[in-house]
Symmetry: C2
Subunit: 307 residues, 2 copies
């Protein structure tokens, strides 16, 4: 599948109806995953706070993980070494373990497995990874899901206008900085990683209100300020955050690009923003004449680690 | 107190012996704090994983916070609006609430208060904020604390050599990027915020192994790569992380500055690294002829938010 078709695959993924098996007696959730697979856990952690949820992106599980812990291993390939290591620990510790994967070693060490279709880049499987979490824990109506699918479809058929935005970054070789806020902090991080992986440019993310306690200072008075391009999302429903976003722009004098979000529900806005970031970074890759699929740096790293 | 004396105050703070009152029946900890006060909760969250710990840097407490939640409010001034809002919610929800503050509104709404000495910038009170958490939950011997104090004292009397490092950033107007790893992720973030607040330069942090799944790609092939200066810490005790750090440097071709850490215990290494970052950002501020105490951007923001 070429990369554009991978991007277009997302609208199918939001209708993925699988659910995780919920253990009878549990009081916390640990979701292990790295990079393009791990982002689903990070997003979910913000959406669901009824129980403590930990998005784990490291080799070791926390000490508190026990028999009353629901542990979800996420690795699209099924061979991510950090996730395999953490999953082995979770099994040892007696957690209720399940996995979301397209195969690999993970499939062979975990009993409860939701298999997702293979053949994609891990970062293009976000819908497959996220929807089972949403389906299992959140009450999202089928109407909202359908509308989210429609928004993705719209973006798939009309996204050339996002190329104008990509051109602004490209022309001046800018460094994108994306500012999120709850529950969209991880969407900002998703953009950062898509800039990194698809367009091969450095990019960073941060979030309100924390950034108003430190990063706002250089925003006002640093060198090289004009070498960044700053983004935030136009979907804050908290007045205090909206005020902060505007005040931060005013105090610092930076041009803070607000990406507007059609749709009503959180799920619609979320998937719209994810896909906007997909196309922005895809167009930037094209402008840079760079293959968005190329992840040779990561492959080189893996070779060295194995050697 | 001038800023240099604020920095020198840290060695006194590690001997701050206060302890938090631990509730009889609790199963999770939420620590609310922003910026220079919030960093203590973020650091502690990595050091202590026997129970779920959440470092909260937002207005709202998570849904799971209940009567079995120990809630610690941290605000040096006692008037941080996000912390006040979250603390009011925690009281309402029936959490066991205590606070670390030098006064302000927080002192008047919370019963269990540990008062810390006033007169510092919030970011210079890290020892006062962190030590009560360490004293209450971790078994750190007095010998390790004494040695940590000695390391800080050494840095206070001899830190001119760190100016050479600051000069490298200054001369070429570089953007510092600091790479941590567990349990030093938040120390990398602390450096980022100290660069922001003291030296008034943009700076970013990230951590291994997650960055090997995305940021490594532009590290190898982005534009503007030579405008950053990359740091990591020389204290990984996990072979897999050490290997990743070296392999990441090799694959990407970046010059990754390893900051070595004297000391044996985690507490010694941690405070040493914190203080190294203090002096690095202090010297950079001096070279830039910038007042490290000036936080007028934050004050301007507060005025707009109140208006």
């Amino acid at each position: 599948m070429d990369f554009l078709n991978e991007l277009k695959n997302l609208k199918k993924q939001v209708f993925f109806e699988e659910k995780l098996e919920i253990p009878r007696n549990y009081d916390k959730i640990v979701i292990a995953g790295m990079g393009g697979s791990g982002i689903a856990g990070k997003i979910f952690q913000e959406m669901y706070t009824d129980k403590p949820v930990f998005a784990l992106d490291d080799y070791h599980i926390p000490e508190f993980a026990d028999e009353k812990t629901m542990f979800v291993a996420m690795s699209y390939s099924g061979n991510t070494e950090e996730v395999i290591a953490a999953t082995r620990e979770a099994i040892q510790r007696g957690c209720s373990v399940s996995a979301l994967t397209s195969g690999g070693e993970l499939e062979s060490i975990v009993e409860n497995v939701i298999k997702v279709p293979s053949g994609l880049q891990p970062r293009s499987s976000l819908g497959y990874m996220l929807m089972p979490l949403i389906n299992s824990f959140l009450k999202v109506g089928s109407e909202a899901i359908r509308k989210a699918g429609d928004l993705l479809d719209d973006l798939d058929s009309r996204n050339e206008w996002i190329k104008d935005e990509a051109e602004k970054i490209f022309e001046r070789e800018l460094i994108p900085v994306v500012y999120g806020f709850s529950p969209y902090r991880s969407i900002a991080y998703r953009w950062k990683t898509q800039f990194n992986e698809n367009a091969k440019v450095m990019a960073f993310s941060n979030y309100f209100p924390e950034l108003d306690h430190n990063e706002i200072i250089p925003l006002k008075q640093t060198y090289r300020k004009d070498q960044f391009r700053f983004y935030t999302f136009g979907c804050s429903t908290d007045n205090r955050i909206t005020k902060r976003i505007h005040a931060t722009g005013r105090v610092s004098g930076i041009e803070l690009e607000h990406v507007e979000t059609p749709g009503e529900s959180l799920v619609e806005k979320m998937f719209y923003l994810i896909h906007y970031g997909d196309y922005l970074t895809y167009h930037l890759a094209n402008l840079r004449k760079i293959d968005p699929m190329d992840v040779s740096a990561i492959e080189d790293l893996k070779k060295i680690l194995k050697g």
